[in-house]
């Protein structure tokens, strides 16, 4: 697998691009792996990558029932920020954000991390207080954020209507090094590196059973046959409940549809990411020029990857109110993903009742931003049995009542 660079492009340009090799392999499953990761989304692939890179564990397979990156990793609105309120959250999201800064170079794959800045609007007195509190928390967590006034908001995002009339913008929490990245590239970049390390990324391979002996995992059954393993990481987002069931334990997770949409592309008009919780909507502009808009979650559980239209309507309404110039732009495409939501809306990175089985899920509406940090911490947990990044995110917290609740900091959690 050759290195990517401008020189490689130039070389290939003169031989009709015939020299490019596969980004990742297409292997058949081996009989046995040291570790198997179920789910080739961002979190699963990042976990495998750091297992190899940080812990030298390379006899690893990542099993994907569809195509890699085709779950929520390939459906999200790509907002990256780490301005979380609670310490354990800020730690893992900031770790991730920091890793994103160098990820393109690390993976030799341009994931287009664009630290263009994230504005979270305060439109009520209550929100002002909430965001000021977050700014205080962030200062002690080593996350750089700032509460800014309406004038600065308007400077950072001129297309915004800050005077209301219904909900004037009173200020915003500004994280200058938050931003966006190219979602597919994150999955593809990690997959390519995993493959390069000798790991097997096996697509079209659905796990249909988890095999245990005396309370310990010994392997999985898949649509491509049985595979043995010493350790198993379940990283399947919206399908977590389903796969946990195969391993014989239950999870405090609801699976619901979350939707997003894009407009037709236009020339650059918005350089930052804006999230507005009071009116409930958020928007950024992709490098292609599309306005990328995220909506709310459905009020009922389902697996169809299609959401209810009225959520789209509510979000678009809120954004037309906040950005009146978008009214004559057209919605090009809308879609949904099934997100995995826990009782405290924070993720689960944990050992499980089955020895050797680990679970990473519950990222819900906002886990894209966490991919590198989650992979880093979860790999450590799988390799060593513990990790400071994941320590607070264990399953036992629900039994103990030790919640990590972020809903206070953001109504819209992306």
């Amino acid at each position: 697998m050759g290195r990517y660079s401008v020189f490689a492009i130039a070389r290939e340009a003169f031989r009709d691009h015939s020299g490019w090799t596969r980004a990742w392999g297409n292997p058949a499953p081996k009989k046995r792996y040291d570790a198997i990761i179920i789910g080739a989304g961002g979190h699963g692939l990042a976990t495998a990558y750091y297992l190899g890179k940080n812990h030298g564990l390379k006899n690893v397979a990542i099993l994907e029932k569809g195509w890699l990156g085709g779950g929520n990793t390939g459906r999200n609105t790509t907002i990256i920020r780490s301005n979380y309120l609670q310490d354990p959250s800020a730690a893992i999201y900031e770790k991730a954000r920091g890793l994103y800064e160098d990820l393109s170079q690390e993976l030799n794959y341009n994931v287009m991390f664009s630290p263009r800045g994230v504005l979270m609007l305060a439109q009520t007195e209550h929100e002002i207080r909430g965001y000021k509190r977050t700014a205080y928390a962030n200062a002690l967590q080593g996350v750089s954020t700032e509460f800014v006034g309406p004038k600065r908001v308007k400077e950072l995002c001129p297309i915004m209507e800050i005077r209301g009339p219904r909900y004037p913008v009173l200020g915003a929490l500004w994280q200058p090094r938050g931003g966006t990245a190219r979602h597919d590239a994150v999955a593809w970049g990690y997959a390519r590196k995993c493959s390069e390390m000798g790991m097997d990324v096996i697509q079209q391979c659905e796990v249909t059973g988890v095999r245990t002996e005396r309370g310990k995992v010994v392997g999985v059954s898949t649509t491509k046959g049985d595979i043995e393993c010493a350790k198993l990481g379940i990283v399947v987002a919206g399908h977590s409940g389903h796969v946990a069931d195969m391993a014989g334990f239950r999870l405090p997770i609801d699976s619901v549809a979350l939707q997003a949409l894009v407009s037709e592309p236009v020339k650059p008009c918005m350089d930052v990411v804006v999230m507005a919780n009071t009116v409930h909507g958020y928007m950024s502009q992709s490098d292609k020029g599309e306005m990328v808009i995220g909506g709310g979650t459905d009020g009922f559980n389902n697996y169809t990857q299609r959401g209810s239209f009225h959520h789209i309507e509510e979000t678009v309404r809120a954004l037309c109110e906040t950005f009146p110039m978008i009214s004559r732009l057209k919605m090009l495409r809308q879609w949904g993903g099934i997100v995995d939501i826990t009782g405290d809306r924070s993720p689960i990175l944990s050992k499980t009742p089955v020895e050797g089985v680990f679970i990473n899920c519950g990222w819900g509406t906002g886990g894209f931003k966490a991919i590198p940090g989650s992979g880093w911490g979860f790999a450590e947990l799988m390799a060593k049995g513990e990790s400071p990044l994941t320590a607070e995110f264990g399953l036992d917290r629900f039994r103990e009542g030790r919640f990590i609740d972020e809903s206070v900091a953001a109504g819209v959690a992306h």
Partner: protein, 1003 residues
């Protein structure tokens, strides 16, 4: 050269010329033209620039599938980017400008990308721009963003408005071609209620251009007759300019109707979004012709064969003077015949199939057209427009066979049924070998909750490509939909002459063995500049899943959503992977079918109508008296009432002081008021509140706390018992609706057999607080039907009767620590009562006060505020509210949760008061630091400020906070550093700063 023909054009009215502006130049067309047809009539084939390479592009299609001819329409408040010229109806004064070029359409600097295209293959940006790191954000990305995008973003607020319709119908028929008309007629005749919609301004679809006779009539005449018959049916409603945008679960469909886009002076909304619940949905959406891939197929002048005939027949416009027809199926022969009939030259039909023996083929030969079989296009050459067509053998590598001069190429790669709406709701497709297309698989239709089919297809959309088959299929589908609804349907389908057809050859690339340099010039996705070589590269690099290919190459992701490119792309991918097309599968079809304005989705609810402003009965007085408002949910509440010349802070201080010293008046009407009634109401409230409500005596009030199942405090308020079976629960202003919802949820899902009824009467009452040492004197000044004395109405009691002649309930409760009455009167008496109190209080200098004074006074007393002291992670025990938790009850919501180990941890942060050493105000939200760092390198913390104010009463800053083991650490000093890290010290004190023994409220 493109030009207007001297006759013909069934949709235009030559008697009515229309002038319009294109890039500032005045041009002319006719009423009935589209912008695209009018431009062709003016020999303006060049209509845009492509996305990636900025290649010059002409119009390719004649409808919604157009990828190239995108323009900016209008200006300022009515400017719309990325409008398709092919579906834009011409009107007098229309202004259009082309997009994505600089400085001009004819000369575009960005076209340098085309020259560099060998360096810019699919996914090039993933492989470069890696170094130096900071360059991505500051250099590369801005450059990419600037050259990407299409139209300019609007700058102004939209001048138009939009509306929504909500309708239900038995049968929704999408598509007003002959199949849609037939299906609508079949369902309508059976007695079903039918809504029939068509995206264009005309009924009949393609049949008037292509079709044979139907029921012995010319297709045009047949359409006219059926349309008027349908219009006469009371159970059928028809709308044109109305596009079926999306189909969702449970028969929910979205339609997008254009009302005044073609007539901007028309009054009313610009567009209308229809939200339809249909028991049965029929998609009669026809089919779209596919392009063919050959080198130079993106040159202006290369068009779909069907579009060429549309322009001639519908608009009397000839795209070219000399047109080469190239095809893999019979249909394009019609174009050749149409061209011939219009007096235009057709130097050749290149049929890639080895032999052509159909009826159309005979007609073509009879018309004197040269038909060459087994041939394809080696390349099309020209400077900005087709000039020469190089012909080769299809099964070759492109060796030149002959060069034909031409200014237009009409291509046909076969037809693909429009399956979008079918697929939106989960309908599956099957591959049809004979016609080389995916069509809906009727055995795997979208199904409703009880397994019933709710989407069906009719006509060409089903894959029935001849008129005869389409009519039979449409009649059957219309009847099936009606019968699914229990209606009786019968009657034969309209008859059309049979047509003989030969198979469509599955030919996707010309010539079959085209070398790389040709494949790198054979476009699949015109707008996004995806070529055959790009899809092949994706396959070579392992992006094998169609979704990977699509995302890696951006195939099908342009504004036309791949209507022309998807199937061809799949075919190329399948060939590269050496698998059959159906094994590659399609990408997911996502709504909307064609783009819908965001304004239309948002509807009327914009500006002042965005969300209702809830107003208390006293709101007008607040407004008239200079209230400084703050939004609280959908309410606007007065924050303070500054007098002229007074600052908001001074007003707050004055309001607090006056209230504490004399009397203040509060509009508390936003407070939630829920009536809970029924034989089981007491039992129900005992479960909802942490304390005991069933034992409350009639005439008494009790402060109550409500927790979530997880034990966290979610709301608080005073509960009054009205009678044996009735309680009135006050909630926070913000909690009224959610607590009402939560009560309903418990009653409907868990305790459905309990006899309890809940009513939200928040807006039925105005609630006014008369607060302060002089409060009783103020009330005594008006006549009361009850005793308001200290013993007559003791603290936490309530009475009902008349006060100043107004029916009233008086609650003696206090959120300020002062002697205080809250008086509820029917909402329509609210303003009168407020005025009466102002007058009665005048001798005492009564002052209205706002939410900030309210907050300060409660903080001075150490009363908690939901949302300040609580944030979804705090339990009552943290707040020293154990006294409000019943020990006697077996259960209440949250009880079990509050017994969990972390909830009883002695190290929990608990409520205390905080005083800075210098009397300054601690910042809200600041954290108290502790020694050392966390495992993740964050500063350790041991508490935080939950509320902080300047207390006018005490003349210093006061704060409440949650601190680790706080109540055990009275007098200790802790550090709440400022954002810059500088220390801010505060002493832990009791949270009750004022009147600790509660003497004031008990007078």
């Amino acid at each position: 050269m493109s030009h207007r023909l001297s006759s013909g054009g069934r949709l235009i009215n030559r008697a009515n010329p229309v002038s319009f502006a294109f890039n500032g130049r005045t041009m002319r067309g006719f009423e009935g033209d589209t912008l695209a047809s009018a431009l062709l009539g003016e020999d303006q084939m060049l209509m845009g620039r492509s996305f990636k390479y900025h290649r010059p592009r002409g119009v390719v299609a004649s409808g919604a599938e157009e990828p190239n001819a995108l323009v900016g329409l209008g200006r300022d408040h009515s400017y719309e980017p990325n409008a398709r010229a092919t579906t834009t109806e011409l009107f007098e004064g229309l202004e259009a400008e082309t997009q994505n070029h600089w400085p001009s359409l004819e000369f575009d600097i960005g076209a340098i990308n085309a020259r560099l295209s060998r360096f810019l293959p699919a996914g090039f940006y993933y492989k470069m721009f890696l170094w130096p790191r900071s360059f991505w954000k500051h250099v590369y990305e801005p450059f990419i963003r600037e050259s990407a995008g299409l139209g300019k973003p609007p700058k102004r607020r939209d001048k138009d408005h939009y509306e929504h319709f909500n309708v239900t119908t038995d049968v929704l028929v999408v598509g007003g071609g002959i199949a849609g008309l037939t299906a609508a007629m079949a369902a309508g005749e059976a007695g079903s209620q039918v809504l029939l919609v068509e995206q264009t301004a005309h009924w009949g679809g393609r049949a008037p251009v292509d079709g044979p006779q139907i029921d012995d009539m010319a297709p045009n005449a047949w359409v006219t007759q059926v349309v008027s018959a349908l219009q006469a049916m009371p159970n059928v409603e028809m709308r044109n300019r109305c596009m079926g945008a999306g189909v969702y679960d449970h028969g929910y469909a979205l339609l997008s109707e254009r009302i005044s886009d073609h007539a901007p002076d028309k009054a009313g909304p610009r567009q209308r979004l229809w939200k339809v619940r249909a028991a049965q949905i029929i998609t009669a959406t026809g089919a779209i012709e596919r392009p063919l891939s050959f080198a130079g197929n993106d040159l202006p002048g290369v068009m779909l064969a069907s579009a060429v005939r549309d322009y001639i027949v519908n608009f009397g416009v000839a795209p070219g003077k000399r047109t080469v027809v190239v095809t893999n199926n019979d249909d394009a022969y019609r174009t050749a015949l149409t061209l011939k009939a219009a007096g235009l030259e057709v130097p050749a039909i290149l049929d890639a199939r080895e032999d052509a023996t159909g009826a159309l083929d005979e007609d073509a030969r009879a018309a004197g057209i040269r038909v060459i079989t087994g041939r394809g296009i080696a390349s099309v050459i020209g400077k900005g427009r087709v000039e020469v067509v190089h012909v080769c053998a299809q099964d070759s590598d492109g060796a030149d066979y002959e060069a034909i001069e031409a200014d237009c190429v009409a291509m046909s790669g076969g037809w693909s049924p429009v399956v979008h709406l079918w697929s939106h709701a989960g309908g599956k497709l099957t591959w049809d070998e004979a016609d080389a297309h995916f069509r809906p698989d009727p055995d795997r239709a979208p199904k409703g909750a009880s397994g019933e089919v709710f989407v069906r297809t009719a006509g060409t959309a089903s894959g029935a490509l001849t008129t005869e088959d389409a009519l039979v299929d449409a009649n059957r589908t219309g009847q099936a939909a009606a019968m699914a609804l229990g209606h009786k349907a019968r009657g034969p389908a309209p008859r059309a002459e049979p047509e003989s057809r030969q198979v469509t050859a599955p030919i996707w690339l010309m010539p079959e063995n085209a070398p790389y340099e040709k494949r790198a010039k054979s476009w699949l996705d015109f707008q996004n500049d995806v070529k055959v070589s790009d899809v092949e590269l994706a396959a070579q690099e392992g992006y094998e899943s169609v979704e990977h290919t699509k995302r890696y190459t951006t195939l099908g992701m342009a504004t036309d959503q791949g209507k022309l490119s998807n199937i061809n792309g799949l075919a190329v991918l399948a060939k590269s992977l050496g698998v059959a097309i159906p094994d590659v599968g399609t990408t997911t079809f996502r709504p909307p079918y064609t783009p819908v304005p965001l304004g239309a989705i948002s509807g009327e609810a914009q500006g002042a109508l965005f969300q209702p402003i809830r107003k208390t009965p006293i709101h007008d007085w607040h407004e008239a008296n200079g209230a400084h408002f703050e939004p609280v949910g959908q309410w606007r509440r007065p924050y303070a009432f500054p007098k002229s010349g007074e600052s908001v802070e001074d007003a707050v201080a004055r309001e607090v002081t006056t209230t504490r010293q004399s009397v203040g008046l509060l509009d508390a009407s936003t407070l939630g008021k829920l009536i809970v009634k029924g034989p089981d109401a007491g039992r129900f409230l005992d479960m909802l509140y942490t304390n005991m409500m069933s034992t409350l005596k009639v005439g008494k009030c009790r402060y109550g706390l409500m927790c979530s199942e997880n034990g966290f405090l979610i709301d608080d308020g005073v509960v009054a018992r009205i009678d044996e079976h009735t309680w009135l629960c006050h909630t926070t202003s913000g909690g009224a609706d959610s607590i009402h919802g939560a009560m309903e949820e418990w009653l409907q899902t868990e305790w459905w057999d309990w006899k309890v009824y809940v009513a939200n009467v928040t807006e039925q009452f105005a609630q006014i607080g008369v607060v302060g040492p002089k409060a009783r004197e103020v009330l005594d000044a008006v006549s009361a039907s009850f005793d308001l004395s200290k013993d007559g109405l003791p603290f936490m009691g309530w009475v009902e009767g008349s006060l100043g002649g107004i029916p009233a309930r008086v609650f003696r409760i206090s959120f300020s620590g002062e002697l205080s009455y809250e008086i509820a009167v029917p909402a329509n008496h609210g303003r009168a009562f407020w005025d009466m109190m102002l007058e009665a209080g005048n001798p005492h200098g009564i002052t209205p006060y706002g939410t900030e004074a309210l907050h300060i006074m409660r903080a001075e007393k150490g009363f908690i505020m939901i949302g300040d002291e609580t944030d979804g992670t705090v339990i009552p025990q943290d707040l020293g509210l154990n006294w409000a938790i019943s020990k006697k009850k077996d259960d209440y919501l949250g009880k079990r949760a509050q017994m969990r180990s972390h909830m009883t941890d002695p190290l929990r942060w608990k409520l205390v008061g905080l005083e800075t050493l210098d009397g300054s105000v601690l910042p809200d939200g600041a954290y108290a630091v502790d020694e050392g760092d966390t495992v993740n390198g964050q500063r350790n913390t041991q508490g935080r400020v939950t509320s902080s104010y300047h207390s006018p009463t005490l003349g210093r800053g006061i704060a409440m906070g949650l601190v680790e083991r706080g109540p055990d650490r009275m007098g200790e000093v802790v550090n709440f550093p400022a954002l810059d890290g500088s220390p801010q010290e505060a002493r832990i004190v009791s949270p009750v700063f004022y009147d600790p023994d509660g003497e004031k409220q008990n007078v």
